[in-house]
């Protein structure tokens, strides 16, 4: 057996999900994530799992709700327009405190948009994605290996906190091929005494529901959920800092934008500019700590995004608006080049935070 395999990001998500014990996949094809469904269609029947191409994204997310209610690890995947369709289901999963893994391999929008990569669903993902007060744990991989690793992590976090974990990738991450080590460490699912698995005439029925008509009770459910979210913010926030020790220009970027930015930071360093990168790995909870620290150290933070500027709002909040936060972006399926990011770094280094 070879130690490493050459995989597309989408395939890595699918195989990692299987390794994590997921045996139920429900989806509907949409570029650029269709390889996830295609891979599941090939693999699931061979290992006694279920692959089902639903009649729509809405059906698929409700099938996820059903399997999760029965206590099993379950997932669905789509790309931007399809995730919007799943919005109602995401809210219902939150309202019923059900764990699930949902993958969004983003494409350019809004509307039907295009099939090239984008990060413009950041707002949608980090603010819950549907109606009501709730959050999803949002994981942003920046390599094919991380597509696999964070998929496993996503299932574990979803089970631990009884909520949806979302892999927020983009078309590039889904389509690119890289070697992957599939020797993943998987924690088996915890006991789920709340699941609807049959009473055996020995316990009261477990009722899985998001309907709660007594406002005092519904309020308390919301309060309890947000106490859980506070724990997650404390324990589960993840990020990578790159060459930040002595940096006086900070680049903030996730996913494919972080890969581009890392190249630009290296180029800037060669020119004697002290640039560094903070790469959020969890987009919710957002890594506030490193940005608060950076705000007391650097003269400017540049948010590099494949959108019209969404994460930049969280960067501004986290840095307390103590330093200028500027945007370096492309949109609609375009990707910033390392040169574009390098130019932004050079400008920030020269102007010393006077820009904006």
């Amino acid at each position: 057996m070879a130690d490493k395999v050459l995989m597309k990001g989408n395939e890595a998500i699918a195989e990692a999900a299987i390794l994590a014990g997921c045996r139920h996949y429900f989806g509907y094809p949409i570029t650029p994530q269709t390889e996830i469904a295609a891979y599941m269609a090939k693999r699931m029947p061979k290992i006694g799992g279920t692959f089902l191409q639903a009649e729509s994204e809405i059906a698929a997310i409700n099938m996820v709700y059903g399997v999760s209610s029965a206590g099993k690890r379950v997932m669905t995947s789509s790309s931007s327009p399809g995730i919007s369709l799943k919005g109602e289901g995401l809210s219902y999963l939150a309202g019923a405190d059900l764990p699930a893994l949902v993958v969004n391999v983003q494409r350019g929008g809004p509307g039907l948009g295009g099939i090239q990569p984008s990060q413009s669903d950041y707002f949608q993902a980090t603010r819950g994605g549907g109606h009501g007060d709730y959050r999803m744990i949002v994981l942003a991989p920046a390599s094919v290996q991380e597509m696999a690793d964070l998929t496993v992590k996503g299932f574990e976090l979803a089970d631990t906190y009884r909520m949806t974990a979302m892999i927020l990738a983009d078309g590039t991450m889904g389509q690119m091929m890289e070697p992957v080590d599939l020797e993943l460490t998987v924690t088996p699912p915890p006991a789920k005494p709340w699941a609807a698995t049959g009473t055996g005439m020995k316990r009261p029925h477990n009722i899985i529901n998001s309907l709660s008509l007594v406002p005092e009770e519904l309020e308390e459910l919301n309060f309890a959920r947000y106490r859980r979210y506070a724990q997650i913010e404390e324990k589960e926030t993840r990020w990578e800092e790159y060459r930040m020790e002595d940096a006086d220009v900070c680049v903030a970027a996730f996913g494919i934008a972080a890969r581009v930015s890392k190249n630009a930071v290296n180029e800037a360093r060669k020119m004697g500019i002290r640039a560094g990168l903070i790469r959020p790995i969890t987009l919710w909870p957002f890594p506030k700590v490193p940005f608060a620290k950076a705000a007391g150290q650097v003269k400017e933070i540049i948010s590099v995004e494949l959108s019209m500027g969404q994460m930049i709002e969280d960067v501004r909040l986290a840095s307390g608006c103590r330093v200028p936060v500027t945007l370096c972006n492309r949109a609609g399926g375009m990707i910033p080049t390392p040169e574009q990011v390098l130019d932004a770094i050079k400008r920030a280094a020269e102007n010393g935070g006077a820009a904006q």
């Binding site: 070879a2 050459l6 195989e15 090939k42 099939i115 389509q175 091929m177 890289e178 070697p179 599939l182």
Partner: protein, 220 residues
Amino acid sequence: MKYKRITLLCGHYGSGKTNVAVNMALDLKRRWENTAIADLDIVNPYFRTKDSRRLLEAAGIQLICSDYAGGNLDIPALPGQMYALTDDRSLKAVLDVGGDDRGALVLGRLAPAIVEENDYQMLAVINRYRPLTRDAVSTLQVMREIEYAGGVPFTGIVNNSNLGEETVPGDLLSSLSYAGEVSRLSGLPVVCTAVKESLYPQLEGKIPDLFPLRLQPKIG
């Protein structure tokens, strides 16, 4: 490499068919004036032969592909021009077919004429580092599915085992026994072992029928 009038490249999704196809077309063109390459991928809207259009045009190779290929319009269209592949027997061509059995379905229209003329080679592009073709048996299963869908039996194997940009010579050397096993089980010869250009000097003489690949740009 020896060529027949028609060289078909089929294989598992992501096995590297397009890279091999473009390089074989360039190789063929050096020996035969009237050379074409056909992009018959109806599975994947990205990483298409058409991405190498400029290179192919500069070399004087006719590119047969859908107007929609590489245009971000995600529809499985085929060009009417593809009938030239079977109708024009002065043409020698390399056919880049989409991945897996789904991709091979496009051969349905062409298979009877190709098989009847019997001047073709149907090559299975295999990569032991792809997750669903890591051993000979699973590779053979994919090959059988492709033959069943496409209606053209394989005649040979292209060992394109690689780990992308991170491939080192050892990866290729350790794939030889795998390719040999696929060959033994299928009864088909390994017609060549493909390797990226930069590794060619290190492996020349160590692997028979080594075929250098100039890697094509990834657009998308």
